[in-house]
């Protein structure tokens, strides 16, 4: 082995590259295959009404989980207000879509435009939070993002937005404050959430958003910026000592995550006729965090799978009626044990090790077979 090292530098490196490439490839493959299967099932009429209703939310949660993983898993900062960014995106998206209804008749184009605008607003929020908070060392981000999520929810809960021939009207606390003409219609009605929304989101746009998210996050992780971000997570002082601007890279990761969450939020807000601010409370932030932790910190494919399964689980367990949330909790505990307990991890490694050995033998035999 050692003899070969110096002459085999290139193969070793390309093998390593292939490993990263293999992970990236399998992540894309899983998502694409899952989409195709779902699309086929749907066209064959084999999906229940409830399941069909879950398709877009699944896409939304996958994007949210991947983007939160960028902050929590890869950048190593705890954010507890991801639903806040989602909420910003959802409400901005809903208002944009309604405002542009006359201007852009094409639904898809309007959806894309709303999502972009939702992303931009979420990015602005990300900058406002990130610039002061990411300068600090410690878990301040968790506290501030937690508050941010609640602030967004409360603002949305009291915000009235109307639309008439003169344009958009905004008011706080009451509908009367809008001073709309008779032809005007409400877009956001405080605690009642978004109203009069034409659901224009489709499963296909959700799927494309997932692909864009994967493209951005995976490319980021495997670039010099991604290395810098992971270096900061591993050892902040050492990262500074090799010339990395800690604040700048933390902010980059945080804002990119906010943009993606905002876009996912816009997709969510336009996938149903009514979304209330309750949806963007702390519980949703924690749900997304659970997807990330369960899927594995920094593991993108893990986030995708965890988000899918955990969004479907309550739906699949509907026959269990009142027991389903207990089952949900049990599933969470069991998966946590299997992924985090060193003993169980060791046991799994033994099993997979044996499996690999067995597979290796199998392929070796094949090679021998072809050679002979």
């Amino acid at each position: 082995m050692k003899k070969n090292i110096h002459s085999m530098n290139n193969p070793i490196r390309s093998l390593w590259n292939n490993k990263t490439r293999r992970t990236t490839f399998s992540t894309y493959a899983v998502v694409i295959v899952a989409f195709v299967i779902m699309q086929l099932l749907d066209s064959a009429g084999m999906l229940s009404y409830a399941m069909r209703g879950q398709l877009i939310p699944i896409c939304v949660y996958i994007v949210l989980a991947i983007s939160l993983n960028l902050v929590v898993g890869i950048s190593g900062e705890l954010s507890l207000g991801h639903a806040g960014f989602m909420g910003v995106g959802a409400f901005v998206g809903a208002v944009t879509s309604t405002a542009l209804q006359g201007l852009i008749p094409d639904a898809t184009l309007r959806l894309v435009f709303s999502m972009v605008l939702g992303g931009i607003f979420a990015a602005i929020m990300g900058l406002i939070i990130g610039i002061p908070v990411l300068r600090l060392r410690g878990d301040y981000l968790a506290i501030v993002t937690l508050a941010f999520g609640e602030i967004i929810r409360n603002i949305a809960n009291n915000l009235y937005v109307g639309m008439d021939e003169k344009g958009l009207h905004f008011a706080f606390l009451s509908e009367e404050g809008l001073h709309m003409s008779d032809a005007g219609k409400l877009v956001m009605a405080g605690p009642r959430g978004t109203v009069n929304i034409t659901p224009i989101a489709t499963f296909l746009t959700g799927f494309i958003l997932i692909l864009i998210t994967l493209f951005i996050v995976l490319n980021l992780v495997n670039s010099k910026e991604g290395r810098a971000i992971k270096a900061i997570r591993d050892n902040r002082i050492a990262a500074e000592s090799v010339g990395i601007n800690v604040m700048s890279f933390k902010l980059k990761a945080f804002v990119i995550s906010a943009i993606l969450a905002g876009m996912a939020g816009a997709l969510y807000g336009l996938s149903m006729s009514n979304v209330t601010s309750v949806k963007f409370s702390f519980t949703t932030s924690i749900d997304i965090l659970v997807f990330v932790v369960l899927g594995g910190m920094g593991n993108i494919l893990g986030s995708v799978i965890a988000a899918t399964i955990l969004t479907l689980l309550p739906e699949l367990m509907r026959p269990l009626a009142d027991y389903r949330m207990i089952m949900y909790a049990i599933v969470l505990i069991v998966v946590m044990l299997f992924t985090w307990s060193p003993k169980l991890k060791g046991a799994i490694e033994v099993v997979t090790g044996n499996l690999k050995e067995w597979l290796g033998k199998l392929t070796n035999k094949k090679e021998v077979g072809t050679n002979g």
Binding site: I12, N219, K224, E225, D234, I237, E240, V242, G243
Partner: protein
């Protein structure tokens, strides 16, 4: 490899510079440096001049303020008094990453590697500023990204080979043995393309044969990269062997400066390390 004369020349700010460095701009010129932590003066009136290719030692008993001086040089702390001139530029008010970009790289007494990343990636993080590829082109995977990554891979591998780490390139830094981790930290520091390399106890925890190897490696680094090296070390064999100039500090102040021969016989140094003779309690 070029041969260097061991002859030293006296200069005004610091006792000695190597003969061939005497007419050049010193790479590091520390003047009257001091820092207070609250009421405690950790470092005071510290002067040091380092030639462009000098290997210099910073020694002193535990708690003398050696690491604090390194932290001042790398702007981890901002000095209360005095100035640090790096190739003539005052680093006052600069952040650590800026100072590193200007050419000071360091290793740490308690190893600080990116434990979850491979040895190769650790070095590539060190090369960060030299990987010429914009954020957008790495996000969109433009051809310039592949070009820059390929060049970075090549240079990182060269550095790993230089430090004898080629065969652990793909191993996670955290799972490497202690001595190897120390070498990897030096490789990562070298990756930043420094003009001054600060080594904080590079031989700590090494056995004599590893230390001997390290001595050779330190010289090789200077000769190959033509950079200045300052090392904090308790292993006197290593210091006396490899250093051309030595500064001894105690209680944050310089108590002696000079060549290894001069330091060996300096009464102030002997006193700092062993205690006063009159006490009769040399420990």
């Amino acid at each position: 490899m070029a041969e260097y004369s061991k002859k030293m020349v006296k200069v005004p700010t610091y006792s000695y510079l190597r003969e061939q460095d005497a007419d050049k701009l010193p790479v590091l010129d520390v003047r009257n440096l001091g820092i207070d932590f609250g009421g405690l003066t950790a470092v005071d009136s510290f002067n040091m001049t380092i030639g462009p290719t000098e290997i210099s030692g910073l020694i002193g008993p535990n708690g003398a303020g050696k690491t604090t001086i390194f932290n001042l040089l790398t702007s981890v702390y901002q000095p209360t008094r005095g100035s640090i001139l790096l190739r003539g530029i005052d680093t006052k008010g600069m952040s650590t990453h800026k100072v590193t970009r200007m050419g000071i790289a360091r290793t740490f007494q308690n190893i600080r590697l990116f434990t979850d990343m491979t040895a190769m990636d650790n070095v590539k993080v060190g090369m960060h500023k030299d990987i010429k590829c914009s954020f957008l082109s790495s996000l969109l995977r433009l051809p310039s990204y592949y070009k820059a990554e390929k060049a970075a891979d090549k240079k990182a591998m060269e550095l790993l080979e230089f430090m004898g780490l080629a065969d652990v390139a793909d191993v996670k830094a955290g799972s490497l043995p202690y001595g190897v981790q120390r070498r990897l930290e030096i490789a990562r520091a070298l990756a930043t393309n420094p003009s001054v390399l600060l080594l904080d106890e590079p031989a700590a925890g090494m056995n004599p044969s590893e230390t001997a190897e390290l001595t050779e490696q330190i010289r090789r680094i200077r000769d190959t990269f033509q950079i200045a090296i300052i090392l904090i070390e308790h292993d006197m064999n290593l210091v006396m062997n490899v250093c051309e100039g030595i500064v001894v500090v105690n209680y944050g102040k310089i108590i002696a400066k000079g060549t290894p021969e001069q330091i060996k016989d300096d009464p102030a140094v002997i006193e700092a390390y062993l205690g006063k003779k009159e006490d009769g309690a040399a420990c």
